[in-house]
Structure formats: C-alpha cells, structure tokens
C-alpha cells in the first residue's frame, strides 16, 4: 500500500543546507497501523509530508497505492490525495469560515461529489450530531479534532496520515480520538500512519518506526 525507497529531503540552499530526512526506506501493507516516533526535530513531520506527497523529496521515491508520487504533477498528487488520502493535524486545521458540516464536506466537494448526507453521518459517528452548523471557534479542542477526523474519513481514504493528533488534547479527549481512529481503521480497513510523541498512542500501533536525526534507528512490530 505504501512504499518508500531511499527517501531524502534537504532544505535550504547554498551554504546552509539541512538534511531533515536521510535515506529512509520501508513498506507498509494495506490496513496496517504504523506509528512514527522520535524526539523533536528528528524529521517525523517531514517524513509524513513526503509520504503523503505534500512536497517532493530531494531524492528517493514514494509509491502510494500503486502510484509513484514523483512521477505525478503537483495537481495529480492533489487529486490522488483527494481520492485516497485523509489527514489529521495536531492543530486541527479546520477552515474557520466554514461550519463543522461544511468542513467535513470539503474533500468530496473539491471533486464535485455531493456530500451532505455522508458528512452528516460521519459527524454523528464521531459524536457530533446536532453540532453540524457550529463554526470551529464555537467548538472545543476535542470537538474540533473529531470534526477533523470526520473530514479525514469523508472520502473513504485508503491511507490516513495523522500528525500528533492528540498533541493539543487532554488525555481523555485524546483517548476518545484515538479509539475512533482505531475503529475506523478496523471497520473500513484504512491504512493508518501516525506521527506521535505519546507512548500510549504509539503502543496501539501494530508497527513503530523510531527516527533520530532523520534516520530510522528502530523498526519494531508490536
């Protein structure tokens, strides 16, 4: 489902170059659940971004559901994300001008697919029935992250990428969100890739890759 080969990313140019991700290779099967852990600045978020095609690697390649990302144009990668990928961020990243329901609809609407019923259903599934017409500012952190989760699943993604999804939440709310992710992984067979600091959260994954200074220092199955 997800495969990367000799992935390297270097930022900056001229005198001050910084290699954030160094020569990383691994594969993940469909329906798998991978946690990427490591200290701050170890390159976790950058790796996640490269895997999702949010930027081009300096060298190396990523294959996502059979598509080689480097061969795709930026728009083609965007289309691929719209069809096969879901995202959850530490800081939720909801669009402040849209209601909860509208936020969930966005990925499908970008493809011109009517999405109202599905979005309403997903919001109910994450426990937000009746809050459809609230704006992000009117929701608590946990509620916002649940909206983000509903949005991530709205397009029935093959892979869900999550960047510190519980980082801004208290332990209980965080647990609820992680439970939800687990359920969705099980019920829909979605592949999960998760970047986290949280050892509890990492412990739920079936596989853990540990990064330090941009390199894999450990790769263990639970």
């Amino acid at each position: 489902m997800l495969h990367c080969e000799s992935l390297t990313k270097t930022y900056g140019s001229g005198g001050r170059e910084l290699t954030v991700v160094k020569n990383i290779s691994f594969s993940l099967e469909a329906g798998g659940f991978l946690a990427i852990v490591g200290p701050s600045g170890s390159g976790k978020t950058t790796l996640l971004g490269l895997l999702a095609g949010l930027d081009r690697p300096t060298s190396g390649s990523v294959t996502l559901d059979g598509e080689v990302l480097e061969r795709l144009s930026e728009d083609a990668r965007a289309r691929l994300r719209g069809e096969k990928v879901g995202f959850v961020f530490q800081s939720f990243q909801l669009i402040p001008t849209l209601t909860a329901l509208e936020n969930v609809q966005v990925p499908l609407e970008l493809r011109g697919v009517p999405a109202r019923e599905r979005a309403t259903g997903l919001l109910a599934r994450v426990g937000l029935a009746g809050r459809e017409h609230h704006y992000p500012a009117q929701l608590s952190g946990g509620e916002q992250q649940r909206v983000a989760l509903a949005r991530a699943f709205s397009n029935r993604p093959r892979v869900l990428f999550a960047d510190e999804p519980t980082g801004n939440l208290d332990a209980r709310t965080g647990a609820t969100v992680v439970d939800l992710m687990g359920e969705l992984n099980r019920d829909l067979g979605t592949t999960l890739v998760l970047v986290t600091h949280d050892p509890d959260l990492a412990g739920r994954a079936r596989r853990t890759i540990r990064l330090a200074d941009g390199e894999i220092v450990a790769d263990s199955a639970a």
Binding site: T45, T46, G49, L50, A52, L54, D55, R56, E74, D75, A78, R79, L80, R81, G82, E83, V85, F87, F89, S91, Q93, I95, P96, T97, L98, E102, Q105, V106, P107, E109, L110, R111, G112, A137, R151, N155, D163
Partner: protein
C-alpha cells in the same frame, strides 16, 4: 518603562514585520501625494499671480463701460492717461473668409494705443502683435482658422471691412482660457472699427480704457476716489490689485476644493491604517503578552506601537510628498493652455510640511483606537493561547480617542477648506457617506450569504466565505475602494447628465441655428432668404433692451443702496445686479414650451388696451428683486417710461436653446419701441448651417448667428476641463483603495497560505486554489463597486434633481464598465498578492505552524 526601551522595542518589533508595516502606512501615501501636489500647485499659482500681477491687466488701471464713454469719463481718461492710454472696443460679429467655408460668430476687439503696457502677447508667428496696427490686419484665435478653414494671410471679412490675418494668439495677459469659449477672438486695429459699420443700434459693445500711471501704486487711491463718480456714468474702474485679488480668490477657492478631494484620499488611507492596525494587534497578541509577562506595562506596550505608527506614518508621508512633488511638476504643463500665466514648478515647502504633518497625524490618530486593545492583552495570554477572559471592562480611553479622531477630521477639513463651517459640513458629509457605504456593503454581504445558490461550485462558496475569515479587512477594503469608485462614479454621472441634457435639447426636430440682431425692416428679407434656401423659419421673436426704473414707486438707485447696506451687514452682496442690469425683454400673449407658470395667471390675448401693461417675470429674478405678483414696476425703455404690473411668475428651463426671457410683456406697449428680432431655423448638417450663416452674414452684416452644435461643443469642453481636475484628484482615492486592498492581502498572507495549503492537502488542485482566490477578490471588487454605484446613483440623482434641476438618466453600459473595472482592479491586486499562495507546497506551509 523608559523612552529608550520603547524606542528600541519599536525598532526591533518593526524590523521584523517591516514589509507588512510599510504596506500599512502606504495607505496614506496616495492621500499625502494628492495633498502635496494640489497645495504645492496652488501655492505656486498664487505666487505666480502675485509676481505677474501687473501683466494680468496689462495696465495699472482699467475703466470699462457697456455704453460709449460719456464726456465726463473721456475727460477723466485724458487727465489720468497722460503717461499711457490705450482703448479696446469689443463687440460680437460674424466673420468669414473669401476662400473658406461657413461663418463664425466672433468677439472682435479694436485696439488703439500701446496695450498691453505690461506683459507680452505671445503670437504665432512671433512679433505679429506689433504688426497689427500697421494696416487692416487681424490676429485671431487659432480655433477660428480651423473653424473657417482659413490660413494666415487670408482675408477676413467683418461687417463691411476686410482684414488680412497676420497671426494667431498664443497667450495674452489676464486670459483665463475660458473667455474664448464664448467665441473665438479677433483683434483688429481700433481705427478700422468704424469701417465695419457694425456699431449701429442694438450691438452690444464693451468699451474699455487701459491706463499706465507714472507711479504704479497710485492706482488704488485713484480707483477709490473715482469709483462712485464713474458708477454714476455707468462705468467701472479696476486696478491690478483688484484683478489680482479676484483671480487669487478664484484660484484659492479652486485649490481648496480640490484639496478637500485630496483630503478624502488621505482619510480613506486613515481608515486603511485603522483596519490594518486592528489585525496587526491581533497577530501581535502573543508578543504583547510575553512583553507583559517580562514586566512591560500596558502603557509601555501601547507606547511601543504608537511610536511604530508614527514612524511608519512619517515614512509613508515622505514617500507621498515625493510623489506629490513629481505630480505637481507635470501639472502646469498638462493644463498650461487653461492658465493665464507662467506657473513655476518649484516644490512648495509649506505644502510639503503641511502634507507630511497631516499624513503622520492621520496615521497616528487612526491607529490609536485599534491600538487601545493592545493595552487590554493580559500577560496570562502568553501561557494560554486561547485565553479569553470574556466580558472585559470597556476601555475607558475609547471615548476620548474617538472624540480626538472626530475632532481631527473636522480640523483637517476646516484647515483645507479655509473655513470651519465648510470643514464641519465636509467632515459630516464624508462621515455620512462612509456610514451609508458601510451599511450598503453590510447589506450586500448579508444578502449574498442569505441568497447565494447552494448549487454553485464549492470554490465560489469558499471564496465568499473567506470574506468573513477571522481578522478579515473586508469592511475597510470595501469602504476605501468603494469610496474612490463612488467619487468617480458620482462625478461621471453629474457630467453625463449635464451634457446629455444639452444633447437632448438639440433633438432631431428642434431648431439648431439662431439668427439675432435682425432689424425690423430686415425681418422679412432674412426670413425669406432662409425659407428660400429650403429651411423652416420660426416666427420672429422681438427683443427690446430696457432697464428697471422703479419698483412699487421706489427708484432702483434707492433700493440698490439699501440692499447694498443690508448686504454688507450680512457680509454678502445683495440683489444689486438684478436691479441695475440691462434686460432684453420680449412681448407676446402666449406662453412657450420652456416656461411653466408658478404664481399668478397668464393674461388674455384679446384683452382690452391695458394700462399698466401686464408683465411676467422669471421666478428667480423676481426673488432677487423682491417682487411679487401684483407689484407695480416702471421700466426705462430707451428713455421712455413704461408702467407695468407683475401679472405672474414663471419657471424657465434655461437649458433649452430657445429665446428665453427674464421679463415678458403683454402685447400693445412695446411694438413701437426700438427693437431687434431673433429667428430660428434648422439645417441638417454643420456644412449647410455654415453655408446659410455665411449667406446671411454677407447680405446683412449686422445680423449675427450661431450654430447650437458649436455652443454645445464649447460647453462640453468647459465642463470636461473642470471635471478633469476633480477626476484627477478623485483618482487618488481609488489609488488609496487599491493600496488598502494590497495591504489587506499582505496582512492576511499567512492565513491564506495556510488555508490554501490545507485545501491542497485535502486534494484541491492549483486551479481550484486559484479559483477560490479569484472568487474572493471578484466578490470584494463587485461588492465595493456595487455599493459605490448605488450610492453614486443616489448622489447623482440628488445633484440632477436639486442642483441642476434636470431629469436623471442612468447610463447602464458605462455603469457596468465601472463596476467591472473596479472588480478587475481588485482581482489583479488580489492575484498579484496571491502568487505565493499558489506556488508554495503544502508541506512547507504546514511545517511552519
């Protein structure tokens, strides 16, 4: 907290966001540029007037009269003019050339003596003026050559005399450029005036004498000594100082009004500063909270940002002043033909100083209100990002700061207008317009949200939703952009309606050629000649020149003296002119289409012999004279008293090209008085009208005529010239709107980067991201333009209805162009500021959060 720390922090803080701050203060740049340009130009103009004052009149003194100078005046001229005396006799006549086509109504001036004593008359070829007096020569306005298809060297016919055209006039003393709009000027030697044989009865002749005194500054005492005596002889005396004062007042007034338009641009910039500061403080909340944690006082934090606003205001103003100086350098050359003198283009330091000071003040005073909230950011906010204690106490300084803001606007307007009342009214007008525009914009946004079709593609809905993103500056952008568009649109609508009214009155079946000064015995032959050429002839309208002798038994001289005394008490001129002027009246027993009865009743045509004679007055003139229906008036018709009673008052539509009259007499009283006639006709095109004018002028030299199309062109030129100046100043407001929009785009850059990165992450293509951006700016541009146009239509209607008293027409095509143009401007600026949004990859952006 010491001042040094405030200054250092202001610098460090500003350094980090210099680009954004600069765009913030660039809002006031256009306004300062406009102010400096117009004030500097006005200063230069007035200084030039002072320096070249004597050449304005071309002499130390001038004495003029509508009548031949009386023996008393002539005697006085002989005494005063021993060092230098020149005379200019000006009258209207038809001019045509032997070889060219058509004929033109011109203003002929016969010059005797070495006028002008001061200043030069610029001619082409140079030096022609000196050749004028050497024989039957003529120097003419260049436009006459074009109109008649003539060239230098041709023979020009005026009345029964022939003149060789030896040159054209470039510029002459005291020429304000508007005078030739009444008809091209022709100068001939004074000794040939009699040869034209045109100064017979009925001709309007202006006699003017120019005097050079041995000592120039003796002019004013002389003028003061003889003024009353000369008035009794129907003559008027003018000095250099008086003409300078008149011109200075006129230019000063013009400069002040244009300066007010410039001030609008500056105030809109202030609005942009306020809005940008508001957003800026929100974005700086973390920094402020940290500073507070580290021991900065609320007042100290406030001082840091006020200092920043002042410095940025200074930079923005200095830039504006530089642009303003550049603009005023090119202004004189752009409008040189309309100016009576050479204008220097030296930068005016007072104008620059005032412009920069005004700019800094506006920047600071408009930044104060939003900066007050910086005082309210608690140190705790540094620890808890979403900290909002809710129900904060109201800022006690709010009211004083608001009052300072209002007072500043009024004071600036009063300073620019040169009088506190005008300033207050202007400030109130701007406040009201901005308020109405804001309400209009708010209603439009609500309406779009309420009724926007849900079936529309997502990108459009997202673009519209972006107008309400947190920290948006939609209102400020719509106001500043909209106000500029509103000014331009109102100006355009006023101009369009004025000119359209003129155009329509010359409709397809209406007369377009007027013959006047026809003597009674010429009426038959002239009419016959016109109908013989195949054109319709209106029934001849008689015109009888007369003055008012008494009203309700009181002599006008006594009334005028009273009015003058009362007028002085109230600080303005009374109705003296209406009392003393010459009236050119007619007599008939029916009303015409351009008249409407507003008081009294029209008299019966078949009434018995009437004494006193019924007379109908124009309602405005009656008001000036203080006359009501039923009042007795005695008129002086060429020395014969005619007793009348005011039978009714009329509203007259003067915009119609028809013989209209202030006073219309009943028939039976004036038939035997000395009179001339007017005849109207219609010929299909300019060439045939010219041909007919020429034929009549050749056979009856005293009969003058004008082509209505020529008058329309002259009026259009005049209106366009005035409008051009105002439009130029109004453009600065639109520029301010554009800068405020650019500032808002820049301020929200980070937010929009994140939003589009997010959209891309969720699968949006670049095309879709661009569409969202375009939708946002199309919406904001249309919003501003639409709000502006609705308001401008109301203003245009009010101007047409109340000021010009003409029907209001809305030009749909031009309206659409203006709305579309504003939207395109907004989209261009938005797109320019959004290139980065499209270019950057989503990961780059997300990593920064």
């Amino acid at each position: 907290m010491n001042a040094g720390f405030v200054a250092r922090m202001a610098w460090r803080e500003g350094r980090a966001s210099a680009r954004r701050l600069l765009l913030l203060t660039a809002s006031i740049t256009a306004g300062v540029a406009a102010l400096v340009a117009i004030n500097s130009f006005t200063d230069n103009l007035r200084r030039s007037v002072q320096e070249q004052a004597r050449s304005l009149l071309g002499a130390d003194l001038s004495i003029s009269s509508q009548k031949e100078f009386t023996p008393a005046v002539t005697a006085l001229l002989d005494t005063l003019g021993q060092t230098g005396l020149a005379r200019v006799t000006t009258f209207s006549a038809m001019a045509y050339t032997a070889t060219g086509s058509g004929a033109r109504l011109v203003q002929v001036s016969g010059v005797t003596g070495p006028w002008p004593f001061y200043g030069d008359i610029v001619t082409d070829p140079a030096g022609s003026w000196d050749a004028l007096s050497r024989g039957p020569h003529a120097i003419v306005d260049p436009s006459l050559l074009g109109a008649l298809g003539a060239a230098i060297g041709d023979s020009l016919a005026i009345g029964e005399a022939r003149f060789a055209i030896v040159g054209t006039i470039g510029r002459m003393p005291g020429d304000v450029g508007m005078r030739s709009a009444l008809g091209p000027r022709v100068f001939i030697p004074g000794r040939y005036v009699a040869a034209t044989r045109l100064l017979s009865f009925g001709a309007r002749v202006q006699h003017e004498a120019f005097i050079r005194l041995p000592v120039g500054d003796a002019a004013q005492p002389i003028a003061d000594r003889y003024r009353a005596k000369l008035r009794a002889e129907s003559a008027r005396i003018r000095t250099v100082a008086e003409s300078q004062q008149n011109l200075d007042n006129a230019l000063g007034r013009l400069g002040r009004y244009l300066g007010l338009v410039a001030l609008i641009a500056l105030l809109l910039g202030g609005l942009g500063v306020a809005s940008a500061t508001h957003v800026f403080v929100r974005q700086k909340a973390d920094t402020i909270a940290v500073l507070r944690c580290l021991g900065a006082t609320a007042g100290g934090v406030f001082a840091i940002y006020v200092a920043q606003a002042a410095v940025m205001g200074l930079i923005g103003s200095a830039l504006g002043a530089a642009i303003g100086i550049a603009v005023q350098r090119v202004l004189p050359s752009a409008i040189a033909s309309a100016l009576p003198l050479d204008v220097s283009t030296a930068p005016s330091w007072p104008a620059i100083g005032i412009g920069v000071a005004t700019g800094v003040w506006v920047a600071v005073v408009f930044a104060l209100l939003p900066l007050l909230s910086a005082r309210r950011i608690p140190p705790l906010a540094a620890l808890r990002q979403a900290y909002d204690p809710g129900g904060r106490p109201r800022e006690p300084l709010r009211i004083p700061v608001l009052a300072l803001l209002a007072a500043s606007v009024v004071a600036l307007a009063a300073m620019q207008a040169g009088n506190p009342w005008t300033g207050a009214i202007f400030a109130a007008g701007i406040g009201a317009s901005v308020g109405v525009l804001a309400i209009m914009a708010w209603l439009l946004i609500r309406a779009v949200e309420r009724w926007f079709p849900h079936a529309w593609p997502y990108v459009w809905r997202q673009g519209l939703a972006n107008l309400r993103r947190p920290g948006n500056q939609t209102t400020a952008v719509v106001l500043s952009l909209g106000f500029g568009a509103f000014l331009l649109a109102t100006l355009f609508l006023a101009q369009y309606n004025l000119l359209e009214e003129l155009r329509l009155t010359g409709g397809p079946s209406r007369p377009n050629l007027v013959f006047f000064d026809i003597q009674p015995e010429q009426v038959g032959p002239v009419s016959a000649a016109i109908s013989g050429a195949g054109y319709p002839v209106s029934s001849p309208v008689p015109i009888v020149p007369m003055r008012i002798r008494s009203i309700r038994g009181r002599a006008v001289e006594a009334i005028a003296a009273d009015t003058l005394a009362r007028g002085r008490q109230r600080g303005r001129q009374g109705g003296g002119w209406a009392l003393r002027r010459e009236y050119r009246s007619t007599y008939r027993d029916t009303m015409v289409a351009s008249e409407k009865l507003v008081a009294g009743r029209w008299w019966r045509a078949d009434g018995p012999h009437r004494s006193p004679v019924p007379v109908s007055l124009d309602a405005d003139v009656a008001a000036d004279l203080g006359v009501r229906v039923g009042d007795e008036m005695v008129w002086d018709v060429q020395g014969v008293p005619v007793a009348t009673r005011v039978a009714n008052l009329r509203d007259v539509d003067w915009a119609r090209f028809e013989p209209n009259f202030f006073a219309v007499f009943g028939t039976g009283a004036l038939e035997t008085a000395p009179q001339a006639f007017v005849v109207l006709t219609r010929a299909p095109d300019a060439a045939r009208r010219g041909q007919l004018q020429r034929e009549v002028a050749q056979r009856w030299a005293n009969v003058t005529s004008f082509d209505i199309a020529v008058v329309q062109e002259a009026v259009e030129r005049l209106v366009s010239r005035v409008v051009l100046a105002i439009r130029f100043m109004a453009l600065f407001s639109l520029a301010t709107g554009a800068v405020v929009l650019a500032g808002a785009v820049s301020t929200s850059r980070f937010q929009r980067l994140r939003e589009s990165a997010l959209l891309k992450t969720l699968g949006a293509s670049r095309r879709q991201v661009i569409q969202v951006v375009l939708a946002e700016y199309i919406a904001i541009g249309l919003l501003a333009a639409l709000a502006a146009f609705i308001l401008a239509s109301l203003a245009g209607w009010a101007l047409a209805h109340f000021l010009f008293e003409i029907p209001f027409r809305l030009p749909i095509r031009q309206a659409a162009t203006l709305i579309g143009g504003t939207a395109v401007l907004a989209v261009l600026i938005g797109a320019w500021g959004s290139i980065e949004v499209v270019r950057r990859t989503p990961l780059e952006v997300l990593r920064e959060t």
